[in-house]
Amino acid sequence: MRRTTRARIAAVGVAAVALTGCTVTDEETPGQDPAPGTTAEADGDLTPVTLQLQWLTQAQFAGYYAALDQGYYAEEGLDVTIVPSGGDIVPQDALANGEVDYAIAWVPKVLGSIEQGAQITNVAQIFERSATLQVAFADSGITTVEDLEGRQIGSWGYGNEWELFAGLNQAGVEDFEIVQQAFDMNALLSGDIDAAQAMTYNEYAQLLEAENPETGELYQPEDFTVIDWNEVGTAMLQDAIWADAERLESDEDYQETTVAFLKASLQGWVFARDNPEQAAEIVTAAGSTLGTSHQLWMTNEVNRLIWPSTTGGIGTVDPAAWDATVAMALETSNETGATIISSEPPENAYTNEFVERALAELEEEGVDVTGEQFEPIEVTLNPGGA
């Protein structure tokens, strides 16, 4: 009897540790984003909204974090929860499954999901330009897509490779080897691959934050050559805000919420454009562990993808750019011969109806939604992005 009691005490002790472990860290860990719906009851008047990102908390999503921090969402009557993503969370699937109200995702990836049956609609094309680069060392002799012939080409795969394949298809390059690339740039730096995939706002900066063993200084832009898919002409549309197509059709409250959500989100991006330093700090405060200079670099580069807006206002889907992305999604084949989609996407794959209403409201309030005067700032990267 005595022994069972003691065992029981031990078991209770472990359970207590488990419980305190959770509650304590819940409060103390910075950036502990609450799960969907946790704050809904607290503010009875606000409409709860969850936004699914496509990656971890970082300045790629600065506009949404700024809108949250600056209270733009609350002004529109929304209680927004931003849900970061991880390795296996596919934002468009989470949206199509009804787990979240809106999601951020790249257009070509979602086109594939829509063909598989996902009922979702692009309601705002936030990034007007593509951020994907293929980076090589300056002395590698790679300056054009044609030079990739016979080379080892790094790519992350998982739908991030389509601009590369569109470029290779267009240039008629057929002899190459695709190498699965990790999150870091070590494969390029140590010579395992000849050209690495990099986003202007993230991996390209990682290169410039790394030490060149030959000089003992950081690598310089002159050390690399860059293939920019915007210039090659095979850029595809990237970060867009997606909404539930069925609810957009039938649910009037959701339609109003969508306009309000877009209005506040766009306003957040305007804030990030006008206050990049502050926007970067907001993202860091929201739980990103990226270094200060790296975060600011990312904010600045993301601003360059959005501003100036040539489509008539941030978020407007440019039909020509949409059609180009769809055409590439239909034609581009990867190394296995597969294409993203086999038939045209449905009519409701994108709409400008809601973003136009949001833009009209913003313009009425005197907000500059095109940023014609936008000039990127100068960011000095520190070692390790510190």
């Binding site: 005490i9 031990a10 472990v14 472990g21 799960a35 970061p84 790394a210 510190a386």
Partner: protein, 299 residues
């Protein structure tokens, strides 16, 4: 090997902790030795890497990693030292791992009792239990999160960390179910027939005979479950992107392998420390059961 080491430590009168520290130092020494003597470009056979590169990029010096741990996380004013950030993240994961472990142990034990009680259940459930471990986590994580997000029972909302705990418990219940079943079935026929001769019911036999007999089987299973719960927590954090834990930190820091090579190693050390801590906690659980641990069998 271990036996020799234990003999050494007895001869030198070293406490266990010192032995553990020695092992750690030996590992660091091995790392530095390979780094100093190994080929800079590593060694590949037909394009498949067998030995890693020894460059500072691929294998930072152990002391660089330690120095990095003491430096601030970022240059932002008020940023905590890296080791504090790692420790906080590890504690966060510890809570989830223990919760996952507890769920796994309860479920695993319940299944074992069911299988021991009803022979049909053993035939029906055991294959499923084995099958359950072949489902890859990568497929499981989004499903659990998806189901969880729909659960909203009167006032209790499903939190993201609960999905991670469930995934951890999914890995943790398996060794408990299998180990406890073996333990519950371990009494010799002689003993069970004696109980029957006394006219005791099945439940009394369970409490008086089968449960005590199962202890040597269950304790190693609990330790295995603890290790599984930690791995499950870390992997599920990566998988679902739950912020705050050490798994997410591994994912986040992987970005810096090129520009700050010592940094990605820090959360790995956190994960290792976490595993040791949980194993220690579970080991302590066995102390009050010492009387039943006459012969402990490997699970």
């Amino acid at each position: 090997m271990t036996a020799t080491m234990i003999r050494w430590s007895r001869a030198l009168r070293l406490p266990d902790a010192a032995l553990g520290l020695l092992g750690l130092l030996g590992l660091a020494l091995l790392w530095e030795l390979y780094k100093a003597l190994g080929p800079a470009d590593g060694w590949s056979i037909g394009g498949t890497r067998v030995l890693p590169r020894t460059t500072d990029l691929a294998m930072p010096h152990t002391w660089d990693v330690l120095i990095r741990l003491g430096e601030p996380l970022t240059a932002a004013p008020g940023a905590p030292p890296l080791w504090v950030a790692v420790a906080q993240a590890s504690l966060f994961s510890l809570g989830i791992a223990l919760a996952g472990w507890a769920i796994g142990v309860v479920v695993g034990f319940a299944l074992a009792v069911l299988m021991a009680r009803v022979r049909v259940a053993e035939n029906a459930v055991l294959p499923l239990v084995v099958l359950s471990q072949t489902v890859p986590l990568i497929a499981l994580a989004p499903v659990v999160r998806s189901w969880g997000s729909r659960i909203q029972v009167a006032g209790v909302t499903w939190e993201a960390w609960m999905s991670v705990a469930v995934i951890a418990s999914y890995l943790a219940f398996f060794p408990v179910a299998v180990g406890a079943l073996r333990g519950l079935q371990s009494p010799e026929t002689l003993h069970t027939e004696l109980m029957r001769a006394y006219g005791t019911g099945w439940w009394t036999t369970l409490v008086r005979l089968r449960l005590p007999a199962s202890v040597p089987y269950v304790l190693p299973a609990l330790r295995l479950a603890a290790a599984n719960a930690v791995v499950g927590t870390v992997v599920a954090e990566v998988s679902t992107g739950l912020p705050g834990g050490v798994g997410r930190m591994i994912l986040e820091f992987a970005n810096f392998a090129s520009s700050d090579p010592a940094r990605p190693w820090a959360p790995l050390m956190g994960a290792v420390a976490l595993g040791l801590l949980v194993a220690g906690l579970v080991g302590a659980l066995g102390l009050p059961l010492a009387r039943y641990r006459r012969t402990e069998v490997p699970a």
